[in-house]
């Protein structure tokens, strides 16, 4: 079932066009990987899905992006509600310089999700457990989040993202700053999370895309070249450019 449906999305940074007529269907409770060489527009597309491009003043998005029939690319959209439903994990772990507890509790606090201290404790515990971080930090929740290791910080950011129970989580190269062990932990986590949420992940690692995703989209020079089941993209792509990129002949 389709969760997000993008049609003819064009993105401009000032006069420079970054995305050309991208149309894509992202299925619910699946992992969709977006791959492609640097500067191909995959992160730009990802940031359209939770309107993070609004932050960039010169950025202009055209076209239609519908999530459950709600038009995302509309001036009338409540961006705060959207971002509560569509969480995001960034390339570089960016926990707040506050305690681990406060990091996870921040989202539920501003959205008024928890009614009591106990409920908040419960949300924090559940989120950290889902992010596979609970056992490592349960005795030091009042320590500063930025004091954790890189991999732990990234899982803390994931815990923060799932604390408000989003329907979709966007991940922008979440493992590019992590070592192989931390990467393996995050990938395992993605596998668990997809039972409950739709995940869109941008990655530079082809093997990671092959391991974690069910669908893969290949971007090149702002265009979506090919989109389909991961197996097919990696084993038998229709497009020559995709074939070349997958086999490492360019990019």
């Amino acid at each position: 079932m389709s969760k997000i449906k993008a049609e003819n999305v064009n993105v401009y940074y000032g006069s420079k066009q970054a995305l050309f007529d991208v149309s894509i269907d992202i299925a619910e409770k699946e992992v969709t990987a977006l791959i492609g060489p640097s500067g191909c527009g995959k992160s730009t597309f990802l940031r359209c899905l939770n309107r993070m491009n609004d932050v960039i003043e010169i950025c202009r998005v055209e076209g239609s992006i519908k999530m459950d029939n709600l038009e995302l690319n509309s001036r009338k959209l409540d961006v705060v509600r959207l971002r509560e439903n569509v969480g995001m994990v960034f390339q570089k772990p960016n926990p707040f310089p506050k305690t681990i507890y406060e990091n996870v509790a921040y989202g539920p606090t501003i959205h008024g999700i928890a009614q009591s201290k106990e409920e908040m404790d419960q949300i924090v515990e559940t989120s950290l457990k889902k992010a596979a971080l609970w056992n490592e930090v349960k005795d030091r929740l009042d320590e500063i989040g930025t004091g954790l290791s890189g991999g732990q910080q990234q899982r803390l950011c994931i815990a923060r993202a799932i604390s408000v129970s989003p329907e979709v989580i966007l991940m922008d190269e979440p493992c590019s700053a992590l070592d192989p062990i931390a990467t393996a932990q995050i990938e395992e986590l993605i596998d668990d999370l997809k039972k409950e949420v739709t995940i869109v992940i941008v990655t530079h690692s082809m093997s990671q895309a092959a391991r974690v995703s069910q669908k893969t989209g290949f971007f090149h020079l702002g265009k979506l070249i090919e989109f389909g089941p991961t197996d097919k993209i990696f084993k038998n792509p229709d497009n020559q450019q995709t074939q070349d990129y997958i086999t490492g002949r360019f990019g």
Binding site: N50, M52, V55, E57, V80, R81, L82, R83, E84, G87, M88, F90, K92, N94, P95, F96, P97, Y106, G107, I110, H111, T146, C157, R160, A161, S163, V164
Partner: protein, 334 residues
């Protein structure tokens, strides 16, 4: 005093009395009020020496010039030498320098009025400039669109920081005193005038420290669904506070040493009361230095030096505070 040389004519009597500060009447009265049974007895009493005797004692007055060119005549010198030999001339730590207001007599002049004037001016300056400057910096850095108009404002703020302080003094004179009729010579007007000078300094410091907060923190907050206002108030502003505060302290330290604008708004007046509120007339430490340095008496040279030391100590303390705030509370970004 007269018992030092009983039965002497009235002229010498007057010369003897000149050797102590004119405060001696009050000092005798205080002693009697404290010890009523001293009345009618002969008891020793500590009197404040006049500034001329003080200078003789410190060796600052040469004795070998002709008597008519000296401020202390031969007769007074003779009495001084007698007292000194008996060990009756004492030097003590001048506590009254810190507790007395200004005076025309060097030996009585203190910095209490100008110190309080400075404290009130700085507090008024802080109260006016800090909120305005921080809010202006937040608006310009976090909310204002980047266009020609905001560029224009930015250039103007930077220029404002370079405007000579005397111009702000004239502005205070022309607007605060002439138009708004605020009470002249008061720390209220002085503080507002100084806050005009401090404003650009704080805005620039606050903008720089807001800019230093990494964009990833803003993105993190926005991505979890915080509004722009929440992102700014919960994350960016608290993280920028150490830099803003140390910039504020440095701005205030600049204002502390400012003299020209205060002279223009009348804080140069001779004030011999200690101000209790910001709307009482007062001097300020740098202006006090200016006033005293114009006085002819040798005793004021020492007063000026002491006042400068107090002002410098104040400045060093504030700059130290700025450093501590910055190093202790500033977050390190890896």
């Amino acid at each position: 005093m007269t018992s030092l040389d009983p039965g002497l004519p009235e002229e010498e009597d007057r010369q003897l009395i000149q050797m102590v500060s004119y405060k001696y009447e009050a000092e005798v009265k205080d002693l009697l009020l404290k010890n009523p049974d001293y009345l009618g007895k002969i008891v020793p009493i500590k009197l404040t020496a006049s500034d001329d005797v003080d200078q003789v004692h410190k060796g600052n007055y040469p004795r070998d010039i002709p008597e008519e060119n000296r401020r202390v005549n031969d007769y007074q010198l003779q009495i001084y030498d007698m007292l000194n030999e008996r060990g009756d001339i004492l030097s003590e730590f001048n506590i009254s320098f810190f507790t007395s207001p200004d005076s025309r007599e060097a030996e009585l002049a203190g910095i209490a009025s100008s110190f309080m004037g400075t404290v009130f001016s700085i507090l008024v300056c802080l109260a006016f400039s800090f909120p305005v400057a921080v809010l202006a910096a937040i608006y310009l850095e976090e909310f204002a669109p980047k266009n020609k108009f905001t560029d224009f404002i930015e250039v103007n703020i930077n220029n404002l920081a370079a405007v000579p302080s005397i111009v702000f003094g004239l502005l205070g004179l022309g607007v605060l005193l002439a138009v708004f009729n605020l009470p002249r010579s008061t720390p209220l007007v002085g503080g507002i005038t100084l806050s005009l000078m401090t404003l650009p300094t704080i805005i620039i410091a606050a903008r720089a420290s807001l800019k230093a907060v990494p964009p990833s923190i803003r993105e993190a907050a926005l991505a979890i669904g915080a509004s722009n206002m929440q992102t700014t108030m919960h994350h960016t502003v608290p993280l920028s506070m150490p830099g803003t505060l140390s910039g504020t302290i440095i701005g205030l330290a600049q204002a502390l040493g400012e003299t020209a604008p205060l002279i223009l708004i009348g804080m140069v007046a001779f004030v011999n009361t200690i101000p209790g509120t910001p709307v009482d007339p007062a001097a300020s430490l740098p202006v006090q230095i200016y006033i005293w340095s114009e006085s002819a008496e040798r005793g004021f040279v020492e007063k000026v030096s002491a006042c400068i030391m107090v002002l410098l100590a104040f400045l060093i303390l504030m700059n130290l505070a700025a450093q501590i705030v910055r190093h202790k509370f500033e977050k390190k970004w890896s």
